[in-house]
């Protein structure tokens, strides 16, 4: 049939173009408006000379002066860096905001999506949108195949042993609630202990507060050490035979610190406790291998890893998921339904009630393909360099305090920095940066109020990077930040 042939042709073009593009980045740059490629023609971006970043064969035209001389000679951050090479894949970055080039530094809040993901979503709705799992007809079979293929991609991405260990949810928050209500309600008894750190995201804390209220369990929080990183020794000392589950982040969205998950899992399993890892800030930025970490549960959100919003996932070991009662009830998660009772499906279906975010899960699969082609280790290595550059550049701003541990040989920081500048409110900083310089950062408590309370502040500003950011983005940010500081100081 002509329609499906054309669609298949487009799909082939997409995958070939993507493969070719990433092997030969200059190909894409020399033929940015090739109409034979669905991939390229959909990238309709307005590029001014100020905003267009060219990689590979030409030096980048950076109008902003470098504010810091540190690491200018670092080849990892030079004009052929991963950031320069991948930027053209992200149409949204090529725009002006309030008269300045957009500098998007709010990736810890959400990431941008490459054209490949946008195409996958569009293609799903254009070519084979249909409800999954139950349909007999062609479109439904195709949608089901692609949806389940996306599940396999997620499993492979985090090295789960079986794709049935991946439950698609709305986001990481829902996934944590799933564990809290399904595993927690049936396993926690009065005086059982749930161990967390004070640096946890609200989504990791509040579901357990709700479940602790219902079960009589107690929440305990490990504090920070003098380097403003979670105190791992303190955490370990809290473990006892009363500990039933340990809920911790992998990478902190405020402190940029990284927890030693493998060791924490060993200590937890020693006392018979399970471990749930909030991997929202790690899965998008580094290799995460659930088998080598040996975690019991792990959650992440698609929208932070270049995928669409509306989908996330829970990884759970098979034996744990099999023993867990349903979370949400409805269609899809049942086996047989009678008037007075129902029987339930096996995991993962047991935890996927109702029609899922089909297109979005497929989009997540496309994001995983994109990230895998770049290579997570390559992304991680680049972001470590960028993280150091951001941190050191920020320290050059007077009266600034950057939260979290300093990067060193033993300590890696994620590519984000939360900070405060004396006598200037972070919201005022963020507003001015946006209005005057087109720089997008975040200000507030970053869903970590207990952490901010511990640090003695109400709010902080946060700049967070992803692999498509460049050294020039950091330079522009620092220059804009210095301008902001001067502006507010002149009003005092």
């Amino acid at each position: 049939m002509p329609l499906s042939t054309l669609t298949l042709f487009n799909l082939c073009c997409n995958s070939i173009m993507e493969t070719v593009v990433h092997k030969l980045p200059s190909f894409k740059l020399l033929n940015p408006t090739s109409s034979s490629s669905h991939y390229c023609s959909s990238a309709t971006t307005t590029r001014t000379s100020k905003s267009f970043r060219i990689g590979s064969r030409r030096r980048s035209f950076s109008i902003s002066a470098s504010a810091s001389a540190v690491r200018q000679d670092n080849p990892a951050l030079g004009s052929v860096s991963l950031g320069h090479i991948t930027r053209p894949d992200f149409p949204i970055l090529h725009q002006e905001v309030n008269g300045s080039r957009l500098v998007y530094l709010d990736n810890a809040a959400t990431s941008q999506k490459p054209t490949a993901v946008l195409n996958a979503l569009q293609n799903y709705y254009e070519a084979y949108n249909s409800n999954v799992h139950r349909g007999i007809h062609y479109l439904s079979a195709r949608a089901t195949d692609e949806y389940e293929l996306a599940r396999k991609k997620v499993a492979a991405f985090i090295n789960a042993s079986d794709s049935r260990e991946i439950v698609f949810t709305k986001n990481a928050t829902e996934a944590i609630n799933l564990v809290a209500y399904s595993w927690g309600l049936s396993n926690l008894k009065p005086e059982d202990e749930v161990i967390l750190t004070i640096a946890e995201h609200h989504s990791a804390i509040v579901p357990w507060q709700l479940v602790a209220q219902k079960t009589g369990a107690i929440l305990k929080f490990a504090s920070l050490n003098q380097d403003e990183a979670p105190d791992v020794d303190n955490l370990r000392q809290m473990f006892s035979r009363k500990t039933k589950i340990v809920v911790v982040h992998h990478v902190s969205n405020t402190l940029a610190s990284v927890l030693p998950i493998e060791e924490i899992v060993l200590w937890a399993h020693d006392v018979g406790a399970k471990v749930l890892v909030d991997a929202c800030q790690s899965v998008p930025h580094m290799v995460v291998n659930v088998q080598s970490l040996n975690v019991d549960f792990l959650v992440a959100s698609s929208h932070k890893m270049c995928g669409p919003t509306g989908v996330g996932f829970l990884y759970g070991k098979s034996e744990l998921l099999s023993a867990m009662p349903p979370f949400l009830g409805g269609g899809e998660m049942i086996s047989d339904v009678f008037l007075d009772h129902s029987t339930y499906a096996e995991p993962p279906s047991r935890f996927e009630a109702g029609t899922p975010a089909i297109g979005e899960a497929i989009g997540l699969g496309a994001a995983i393909d994109y990230l895998s082609r770049l290579g997570m280790q390559k992304i991680h290595d680049y972001e470590i360099e960028l993280a150091k550059y951001l941190y050191e550049s920020l320290l050059s701003v007077p009266n600034i305090h950057v939260y979290g541990p300093a990067p060193s040989e033993n300590v890696d920081r994620a590519a984000l920095c939360s900070f405060n500048i004396e006598n200037i409110h972070p919201t005022d900083i963020a507003t001015f940066l946006d209005q005057q310089h087109g720089v997008a950062i975040r200000s507030g408590h970053h869903c970590a109020q207990p952490l901010h309370r511990h640090l003695g502040v109400n709010a902080s500003a946060r700049a967070s990077l992803h692999f498509y950011n460049t050294k020039e983005d950091v330079d522009d940010f620092i220059q804009a930040l210095n301008d902001t500081v001067n502006f507010f100081n002149s009003f005092k």
Binding site: A109, H425, D428, T431, S443, G444, H445, F491
Partner: protein
Amino acid sequence: MVSGPTITTLSLSSSSSSSFLFGFSSLKFSQRTRLKFIDNVNERKFTFAPLKCIRVSGFDSCSASTATEAPLAPSSELVSDKLHRLATEFRALHEPIDRVKRLLHYAAILPPADESRTRAPENRVTGCTTQVWVEAELDESGRVRFRADSDSEISKGFCSCLICVLDGADPEEVAMVKADDLSDLNVGLHGKSHSRVNTWHNVLVAMQKRTKALLPQHPQMLQPVLHTCTFSRQLQFHLLCMLHM
């Protein structure tokens, strides 16, 4: 060119260079603050010269008369007038950054608050990403006097604008102001996007709540506004979710 209503609380006078003076009869207002209005041919454009800074060339600056003892006029048209002037002033600033700067000027003219009093927990305005405190009390004439403070200069600017409009008003007038009336004062937004409206709205609602609390014997007149506030609170909740990701 002087135009507009003559209002006994405010001393409006013109000089040969058509600059206007605007004096507040506010009990807490600093006597050293000077404000000028400069009339443009087509639209009113207000510039403010707070303590430290800006001289606008070509215009004489006159000292303000801060008539703290001047009797308060009937203020029934005053609040809506002030709101209108404020909206016009901000609407005339086409560059968002100029609105930020204007807010900072307003912040500078906000009467300094007694931190230990104003920053009490019960005065805290909930829902803002910055810390904002608002106090209200009735003076001898039954008008509402406000004090506000914030740890953010821009939020202080918002408070200062609202106090310019509402300080010294009748409680009923305070209750009648709607969040929509403030939409023209948006800072840093394209079109009618809502994130900063949140702060305006929160502070306005706080002012109205505190005003209501001063009048326990007249809850009915404020009921319709509370319905508006409830609906707006839903919007506010959604905005908060957006802001507090």
